[in-house]
Symmetry: C5
Subunit: 354 residues, 5 copies
C-alpha cells in the first residue's frame, strides 16, 4: 500500500476545486455533531443532515460543528456552498495528504492540523481541518468522534459555569489546537517507552529483527517531525494577533501552545538523536558479538594446532624414532601437550585476548 | 553519454543570443499545435509552419500555441523575431540544461519547468518553457505532444461550457503548471512502489546488484529534487500577485499549486531518507549474512578440531600405549568423541552462538 | 522512568491555567526565603507561609523571595492571585519541562532557566523560574535552597557595604542569571575531566561498556546544549535594553553574561566534537585490537600448516618410502621443519605482518 | 609543495600595499596585449612596455589591455601609479591566493575570478583579475595568453561588423566573465567523463589505487566549488545595475551569466554527491569482494574437515578395529566421503551460500 | 590539565568586575613596552611601572603601550582606574578564555583576538586584548613580547620616514590586527606541511598511532576555526566605518584584512575536509592491509587442505589398500599433490584473488 502518496494521482486532470476524497476509505456515514452555546445556554445535537447546520450561520451564539468522515461528497458540496467556502479549500479538506497550514480569507480562516495517536501499537496520523468564522467553527475529522482528543474540551463546554462559555471564536480555536498539541505529549511518552524498551533489548540480545524495528521507529520519527514542524508557523501566525477573526486577548494562550509545540519539536529532535544512537549501538553490539565469537573460536582452534602437530609427529613411520621406544614416551607427550595448552592460555590471558 | 553536461560546451565562444539546440537530438520535425478560444468559440489547428501562428498575436481571443521539438533553429529564429522575444530567452528555450526559473519582461514572462515521467522504467526529465503574454501563451516541449501531461487540460478547453473558456492568460498559466505538478505525484507513486519493492527484496536476498540499483534510485531522487526545488520560488512569485500579466484573482489557485509543490518536495525528502535507510539496511543485511555464514562454518570446524586431535593421538606409534590394546578402546573413543561434540553444541547453544 | 516527557500528559484535557505540578515528586514542604534590603537595611526571613510575602509587594525596598519546592499547589494559587501573575505563567512555573524562555508583561517579566549540576556523578537539570517586577523578584526552585548556586549572591547581599545593596531589580536579575551561568563552567570542567578520563581509558582498554558510557556522555551533551542554547536569546533580549523593568545601565552586565553564555555554548559544541571523536576512536581501536588478534592467530596457525602436512606425509603406510628407512630421516625432518618455520617468520616480518 | 598556502607568509611584516608576487614562479617575461576599438576601427598591439599603454587612458575608444604574467614588479608599480589604482588592489592582483571578489571604487571596479582548465590531466586554477574603468579594461593573467579562454572573444572583436564593436565597458566586462564561465562547462564535462570512467572501473576491479584517485577527485571538486561559489555574489552585484561604470542595458546579459553560474554550482554539487557515491560503492565493492573470497575458501576448507577426520579415524592403531579388516572397507570409506562432500555442497547451495 | 575550561570556575561567586587572572600561570613579572611617536619623533621605553604610562593619556602623539603578562592584578587595577576602563572589561582582559569580540564604549573600543603559533610543534593560542582610545592603544599579551608577531610592526614604526608615523589610532589598530592575521598564514603553512606528511606516511605504513595523531590534528583544526571565525564579524564592524574612534580612510585597509580573514577561514575549512579525508583514507588503508594479510594466509592454508587430506588417506591402516603396495605409489602421490597445488594457484590467479 502506498502510504505517503495514497492515491493523490487520482485527482490528476480534474479541474481545480473538484471535490474528491483522497485518503483511507472507511465506508462509514458522515456524522455531524453540533454544540451551540452562549453563557448558560447549550444546545447539543447529533445529525446526518448537513441542512441542520445551516441555521447556525451568522448567529450570536458560539457554535462548533464537528463533521466526522470525509467520504460524503454531496454533503461537502452543500456545506461549501452554504457557508461560502472556496471550492479549493473544500478540495483541501477532503485531501488527507495536506501539510499543516493556515490560510486567511476575508470571512474565515482555514487551518489544517495532524492529530496523532497510537492504535494497536501503530502510529496513526489523522488530518483535522478547521474553518473558523464569526461565532462559528467547523471541524473536519477523518474518523468517528468517539475517543478523539476533543472529549475533554466537550466536557468543559458542557459545564455551565465554565469560563469557555463566555469566550468567542479565538478561544475555541485555541482550545481545539491545544487539545491536539496536548495529545502529542501522550504519543511522545509512548515513543520514549519504545526507545527505552529497545535500549534494554539491545543489552540482552542483538537480532536483525531489532534492527528493522529501530529503523521503523526512526522513520516514524521523521514522519512525526514532518507533521508537527509546520505547526510552529501556524500558531505563530495566530499568536501575532494579525488574524482579524481571532480576538486579541487569546494571544497569550496561543503563546502557551506555541511553547508546547516548540517543546514537542525539541523532544522529537532529541528522540531522533536517541534513535540514531540506538542504531549505532546496534551496529557496534552486533560487530562486538561477532568478534567475540570469532575470537573464542580462533583461540580455541589455535590451542589445538601445535597439539595436532605433535601427535602427527609421533604417528610417523620412520624406522628410527627413539621416543617411540621409550616406555614413558606416551605419558610424557601428554604432559608436554598439557603444558603447551596451559602456557598458551596464560599467554592469551596476559595479552587480554581472553 | 554525458547526462548532466550534455554538450553545453558546444556553445562556448559563440556570441550571446546565438540559437543552438542543446539536448538530445531526435531528428523529428517540429510540430505546432494551436488552440484559440473565447467563450463558446474554439479553433484548433496542427501545423508545421510558424507563419500560421503570426495572426494570433494581439487578438482578443485567448491562444495557446504548443511547439513540440527544439531542433528547427530557423523556425525559432522567426518565432523570436515576430513575437519580440529577447534572443537570450530564445537561447534558453533551446538549451535543455536550464534550471527551473521565471523571468519577467515588460511584455511577457518566461517560465522554465521540468516535466518528469517514467518511460520504459527510466526516469525522463523533459524541459517545458513557457512564454506568457497578453492573451497568448506559447509552450515549448522537447518531444511530441502525444501522451504529454496536458491532454486533460486540452479536453477541458474543448468542453464548450468549461469554466476555462472564460478565463485569461493567468488562469491558463496556472492550468499548465498545475498539470505538470499533478504529474509529479504519479512519478512519486511509482518511486514509492520501487522503494517498497526494494524493501521486500532486501528481506529475501542481498546482492551487490541490488546495491547498485538502490544507489541509482538515490541519484534519481537527487536529480528529481533539483528539478522540483526551484519551482517553489517560481510559483511563489506568481502567487504574490506582483506579475502584471497575471490577473489577481488566480492568486488563490497558485497558492494551491504552491501547496502541492511543497508537498512534492516534502515527499521527495521523505523518500531520500527512506532510500538512505535502504542503503543502511542493505549494508547491515549483507554484513549480517556474511557473519551468519562465517559463524556457522567456524563453529562447524571448531567441533571437529578436538576430534581430529583425538584420532591423531591414537594414530601415534608409541610402543607403549595401553588404550590401543584395550578391546573396547575403539568403541569407547567413539563414545567420547560423540560426547565432546554434544557438549560443544550445548555450550554454543547456551552462549546463543547457534 | 520517562525522563524527557515526565508526566506531561497528566495535564491533558485540563483547562488552561490549571495548576498541576509536573516533575519529580519529592514530598518536601515548600520553603520560602525572603531577603528585603535597601542601602544598609537588610531583613532576612525563612517561612512556610506565603502570606508573609504579601507585604513586600509595592514597597521601596528591593525584595528577593526565593520559593523552594513546586508541590504545594494551594500556596502557588494564593501567590499567583496576590501578585497578579497570569494563571498560564503560574502553570509554567509548576511544569518543569519548560524550555528556557523570557516573557514580558506589563507589570513583570517571566524568565525560565535551567540550573545544571552533578549530583552523585549524575547530571541533574533543575528548573529555575523568575518573576521580576518593580522592586521585587520571586524565584522558584525545584529543590531546597541548601547548596544551590545562589549562596555566593546571598553573601554579597548580606555584606552591608556591597555594591548590590544600592542596585535595583535589573541588577539582581543579572546577578541571579550570572550565578546560574557561572555554574555552567563548573559542569563543563567536570565534563572535560570525564572526556579526558575516557580518552585515557581508550588508550589502555576497549570494552563495550566504555562504548555505552561514551554514548551516555554524548546524550548528556545534547541535553546540556538544549538547556543552554535558548539562554542566548533570553539574555540578548535583556541586554538590548528594551525591557522596561530593567534599568538601562545594567545592559553592560548582561552583555558580559551574554559573552559567558556564548562561551558555554562554544565549549559544549567543542565537547560534542570531542565525544564524537571518542566514539570514532573507540570503533577504530576495537577493530584494531580485533585485527591484531586475528592476525597473530592466523599467522600462528599458518606456520603449522606445512609442518602438519609433512608429518602427515611420513605417517603414510606406503610399502616403498625410502626416507623412512634412512637412519637420520627423523632428525633431518625436524631440521627441515625448523627451517620452514624460520623462513616463514622471516617472510612475515619482511612483509611487516608481524 | 604547498598548494593552498603557497608562500603567503613571505608577505608577513611588509607594510600594506607592498607589491610581492605570490604564486607559481615561471620566469617568463610579462607580455602585454592591447586591443583598442570603436565601431569599424581596431588597433591591436603586442608589447613588453607598460609605457605603451599609457595613452589609452581616458580616450573615447574602448580599450582592452591584457597583461600576462605577474612577476615583473616594476611594471606593476608603474601601471598602478599611472592608472591610479590603489596599492592594496595592486597587491591583490599579484597575490594568486585571492578569493573571487568584486570591489567598487570611485573610478573603477576590481574583479577577481578563477579560470579553470585541465592541463596534462591535472586541474589547473589560474587567477584572472580585472580593472574596469571608463572605456578601459585591464585584465591580468598568471600565464601566457596563448590558448586561453578569451580567444573566441578576440575573434569576435576582430570582426568589423560584430555587435561588440558598438558596446561599452559593461558589455566587455560581461563578455570576459562569460568566456570564463562558459569554460567551466568544459571542465565539468571532463569531470563527468572521469566520474563515469571510475564508475566503470569499479564494476571491473577494486584497487586501493582507485580509492586514492576517487579521493583526489573529491578534493578537486571541493576546490572547484570554492573557486566558483563566490562568483554568484559577484555577478549578482553586477546584474543589480548598482555599479555606476556598468551600463544598465547589459543587466540582462549578466542575468544570463548568473543563470549559468548557478547551473555550474548545481552541477558541481551533483558531482560531489556522485563522487561520495563512488566512495561508498568502492567500499561496498571492496568488502564484497573480500567476503566472496573468504566465503569460498571457508566453505572449501569446511568440506574437507569431516573427511580429514574420517581418514584420521582409520589411521588409528587400535588392535580391535573391525572396519580395517573388512575387504571393501577402503572402497566403502571413499564412497562415504564422496557422499558427505556431495551432501555438504547441496546444503550450502540450499542455504544460498554458494 | 583542563585546556578549554582552564579554571574559569575559580571566578564563580565573585562580584562582577573582580579582577582574577584566568589562564596559564607563568610567574613572570609583567613588562610594559611603550612606543610614543609623531612624525619624526619616537620615544621608546621598557618599564615595570604602570605609573610611567599615565602621562600618555590625552596627548597629541600617538602612543602604543604593550603590556606583557596578565598576572599582576594590582597593576591592572591601577591601569583600569587611571585610563577609565570599565571593570568588566578589565576582568575580560585577565580572562584568557575570551572569545574574539569587539565592544564599543564612548571613549574607547575593546577588542579581543587570538594570536596563534607553533611552539615546540604544539599549537599555542595566546589571547591579545586591545584598548583603542584617542591617540592611544594599549595591548595586552599573555607572554613576553620577545618573538611575538608585532616585531615587524615595531620596525616599521622605528623607521623615521615610515608612512605609519603620520597615521592615527585607526591605522595602528589595523596594523596590529593585520600582524596577527598575517601570522595565521604561517600557521596554516605548517599545518599543510603536517597534513602532507601524514598523507605520505599513510602511503607507507598504517599504525594506530597515526590515527591518534590525525585525530589530534582534526581537533586542532576545530580549535583554530573557533579562534578565527568570530574575527570576521569584528573586522567587518571596524570596516563599516561606524566606529567613531577609527578614522574613515583606514576602512579600505580593514577591507583588506577582512579578505585575508575570509581566506584563512576558507583554508581552514579546506584543511578540515582534507583531515577528514585522511581519516577515511586511514580506515580504508587499515582494512585493506588487514584484508590483504587474511587473503594471503587463507589461500595459503587452503592449498594445504586437500594435500593434508590425501596424506591422511594413505596413513590409514586398512588391510586392503592396493595403492600402498604399488611400488611407485609414493612417487605418484607426490606428483598428484604437486599438480593439485599448481592447479589451485592457477585457479586463484584466474579469479584475481592472488
Amino acid at each position: 500500500m502506498n502510504r505517503y502518496t495514497k492515491g493523490v494521482s487520482r485527482k490528476r486532470g480534474l479541474k481545480p476545486g473538484s471535490l474528491v476524497h483522497i485518503g483511507t476509505v472507511t465506508g462509514k456515514k458522515t456524522e455531524i455533531h453540533i454544540m451551540d452555546y452562549k453563557d448558560d445556554i447549550l444546545k447539543e445535537k447529533d445529525t446526518y443532515n448537513i441542512e441542520d447546520c445551516y441555521k447556525y450561520k451568522d448567529t450570536d451564539n458560539m457554535t462548533w460543528i464537528n463533521v466526522n468522515g470525509l467520504e460524503d461528497i454531496a454533503l461537502y458540496q452543500k456545506l461549501g456552498e452554504h457557508f461560502g467556502i472556496h471550492s479549493l479549500i473544500m478540495e483541501d479538506i477532503l485531501n488527507t495528504n495536506q501539510r499543516p497550514k493556515i490560510e486567511e480569507f476575508e470571512k474565515y480562516i482555514f487551518i489544517v492540523l495532524k492529530m496523532i495517536y497510537f492504535k494497536d501499537d501503530k502510529l496513526v496520523v489523522e488530518q483535522i481541518s478547521m474553518i473558523c468564522m464569526q461565532n462559528l467553527i467547523i471541524t473536519f475529522q477523518e474518523a468517528s468522534k468517539a475517543g478523539d482528543v476533543f472529549e475533554n474540551l466537550r466536557t468543559r463546554i458542557r459545564n455551565p459555569k465554565g469560563k469557555i462559555r463566555k469566550t468567542k471564536v479565538g478561544y475555541l480555536t485555541y482550545a481545539l489546537i491545544d487539545s491536539i498539541v496536548d495529545n502529542y505529549f501522550v504519543v511522545l511518552e509512548k515513543l520514549e517507552d519504545k526507545i527505552e524498551g529497545f535500549e534494554e533489548s539491545l543489552m540482552v540480545n542483538v537480532s536483525n529483527n531489532l534492527f528493522n524495528e529501530v529503523y521503523n521507529l526512526k522513520r516514524q520519527m521523521i514522519y512525526l517531525w514532518k507533521a508537527v514542524w509546520p505547526l510552529r508557523e501556524i500558531i505563530n501566525t495566530l499568536q501575532r494577533g494579525e488574524v482579524d477573526i481571532i480576538e486579541d486577548k487569546v494571544s497569550i494562550y496561543f503563546k502557551d501552545v506555541y511553547d508546547h509545540t516548540v517543546q514537542v519539536i525539541d523532544t522529537i529532535e532529541l528522540f531522533r538523536d536517541m534513535v540514531a544512537g540506538l542504531l549505532d549501538t546496534y551496529l557496534s553490539s552486533a560487530s562486538n558479538k561477532m568478534n567475540e565469537i570469532m575470537k573464542f573460536l580462533t583461540i580455541f582452534s589455535t590451542i589445538f594446532i601445535p597439539l595436532s602437530f605433535l601427535v602427527g609427529v609421533y604417528g610417523m613411520n620412520f624406522d628410527y624414532m627413539p621416543e617411540l621406544k621409550f616406555k614413558y614416551g606416551y605419558a610424557i607427550l601428554w604432559m608436554v601437550m598439557l603444558s603447551i595448552s596451559g602456557f598458551m592460555l596464560m599467554y592469551f590471558r596476559k595479552k587480554k585476548w581472553l
